[in-house]
């Protein structure tokens, strides 16, 4: 069946993808929970919020991809992915971006070691917590007692490996959320410290955008850790209350996730598009500035930018049919200044012509005639 005709049976592309995602969730749940027999009803709040979160994410991503700029980059990437001649570049782009940009987050470390560490801690703390939470909520994995001393880990209904109840793998896995919470706590504390201390940041930061997500994450982390404290140190005092509050904070986080600052997480893979398509190298054609001749970008990127601007109905075309994006930065600035000083050669209106010299005749100062 053609993909586009499938899309026509939905109100929108976003609803189609939402449907597919929810369907996928239920199918995996079906297998994970032994045909819905092992659903942990205590986690149903999480389940609903997670579903909302996923639908939100889908809507946001689809809306994003419909922006002319994103669509163009997306299209360019798909085309280049299929291009066999670019296979080497493609694989290199994907592996390097995945490893350096997403796994190691090198670009953040370049903005500062402190910022790199705080972001790495929070990022992996959150990702780990989400995997465990979603896994348990949707029953993607659970533990079965094989004999009094051993657990079996069951993933999507299939038994994988068996471990000792007292052994350290079990200890690590059972306390998984505590480890990720600890990472988050350290990272978040570092972030709060930076936001309070750094005067420059205070200039541009916005409470609702930059601080609210930190508060939500902090609330989730603290209540989660409080649960463990209650269980381990205080014999379950207030356990149910804390559990309730924790659930509420997590639900808030899940519903907030697609709409606030944290949404940058699913956008990160877009960074692959840069080395994939545009990064300047020997193997791709370059664009030269139409005025000074400097090679300043990949030909394909300039074409994309021109077409995005056209899609947004920007009229940035000069008299000779060239587009401003086809001139390098320096020349674009000069063109503007010269045009506004009436220095572009008035006889030819030719942007490549040499500038009208003022030596000898001199331009009039401040729009006045010379004496």
């Amino acid at each position: 069946m053609n993909f586009f005709s499938l899309e026509k049976s939905f109100y929108s592309r976003a609803s189609m993808y939402s449907f597919i995602v929810i369907l996928f969730l239920f199918i995996t749940m079906f297998f994970g929970t032994n045909q819905f027999k092992h659903i942990d009803l205590a986690l149903s709040g999480y389940m609903v919020a997670a579903a909302v979160c996923f639908i939100g994410l889908v809507y946001r991503i689809v809306a994003f991809a419909m922006r002319p700029a994103t669509r163009r980059v997306d299209g360019r990437s798909r085309k280049n992915l299929k291009n066999k001649a670019r296979k080497r570049r493609t694989w290199k782009a994907i592996t390097v971006t995945l490893f350096e940009n997403i796994v190691l987050q090198k670009f953040i470390f370049k903005r500062g070691l402190y910022r790199g560490i705080q972001h790495l801690l929070v990022a992996y703390g959150c990702i780990g917590s989400f995997i465990i939470t979603f896994g348990l909520v949707f029953g993607w994995f659970h533990f079965e007692l094989v004999d009094p001393n051993h657990y079996a880990v069951s993933v999507l209904g299939l038994k994988t490996f068996v471990m000792d109840v007292e052994g350290w793998p079990a200890f690590m896995i059972y306390n998984g959320l505590n480890w990720t919470a600890a990472m988050c706590l350290i990272g978040l504390s570092m972030m709060f410290y930076r936001r309070i201390k750094d005067r420059d940041l205070q200039v541009t930061q916005r409470f609702e955008f930059d601080l609210v997500p930190l508060f939500i994450l902090l609330a989730v982390t603290l209540t989660g850790l409080a649960l463990t404290m209650s269980a381990v140190l205080f014999h379950g005092t207030l356990y149910m209350t804390i559990s309730m509050i924790h659930q509420l904070t997590v639900i808030t986080l899940l519903i907030y996730f697609p709409f606030g600052k944290l949404f940058h997480f699913p956008l990160r893979p877009l960074a692959t598009a840069v080395p994939l398509n545009y990064q300047v190298g020997e193997d791709i054609p370059m664009h030269s500035c139409k005025r000074c001749g400097t090679s300043y970008a990949a030909q394909e990127q300039i074409e994309d930018v021109v077409s995005i601007l056209q899609d947004n109905s920007f009229d940035l075309q000069l008299e000779d049919g060239s587009y401003l994006a086809e001139y390098c930065w320096d020349c674009r600035r000069k063109l503007r200044a010269m045009r506004q000083m009436n220095m572009l050669n008035p006889r030819t209106k030719d942007p490549y012509a040499p500038i009208d010299t003022n030596t000898g005749i001199s331009m009039p100062g401040f729009s006045k005639k010379k004496a």
Partner: protein, 180 residues
């Protein structure tokens, strides 16, 4: 904010005090975000300062695949949001004025934010405060219109009303954050 940045290129003496001052602004990380350049040093010593126009519908934001360029409620077009910017540099190519700068080290775009720390409190930005030649001024909208009318003779505004999309061709040395 009811004041605008007004540029008059002919006045520029090329001292680059605006660039030195830009480094002093809060949040600028000691990097200047504006430009002072020679038109053509071989021909004349004419220089010009260049700052962001703070477009209402900025081309840089439109060409950004990550939607990382935001506009404040005062109309200031900010640098790319650090968490979103993927470092594709589309903005540097799309901007009709060649304004956004790119930090290859940190893999992020940065640009003139009209000294947001200052202008958000209606304080003149550093570049306009220090400019010794008054090539850069931070003035009221009315005063700007007055100066513009004086210059109308040399301008290209001839019966046509510029729009946000093609003001490049028309509106000369005026820009800034203002409402009509």
């Amino acid at each position: 904010m009811d004041r605008v940045l007004y540029l008059e290129f002919e006045r520029c003496i090329g001292c680059r005090a605006c660039q030195a001052a830009c480094r002093e602004c809060g949040g600028h990380d000691a990097k200047e975000r504006n430009y002072v350049e020679y038109i053509d040093f071989m021909e004349s010593r004419q220089t010009f300062p260049m700052m962001c126009m703070h477009c209402k519908d900025p081309a840089c934001a439109r060409v950004c695949p990550a939607n990382a360029i935001q506009i404040t409620k005062d109309g200031v077009v900010l640098s790319a949001m650090e968490e979103k910017c993927i470092g594709c540099r589309n903005c540097t190519f799309g901007c009709p004025f060649g304004i956004p700068k790119f930090d290859f080290e940190k893999n992020i775009m940065y640009k003139c934010d009209m000294c947001y720390e200052r202008t958000s409190q209606d304080i003149s930005p550093m570049c306009a405060s220090v400019c010794p030649s008054e090539a850069i001024r931070f003035i009221g909208f009315e005063e700007m219109m007055e100066l513009r009318r004086k210059r109308a003779q040399s301008n290209l505004l001839q019966g046509k009303k510029p729009t946000e999309q093609n003001k490049w061709n028309f509106v000369p040395e005026t820009f800034g954050v203002y409402t009509e």
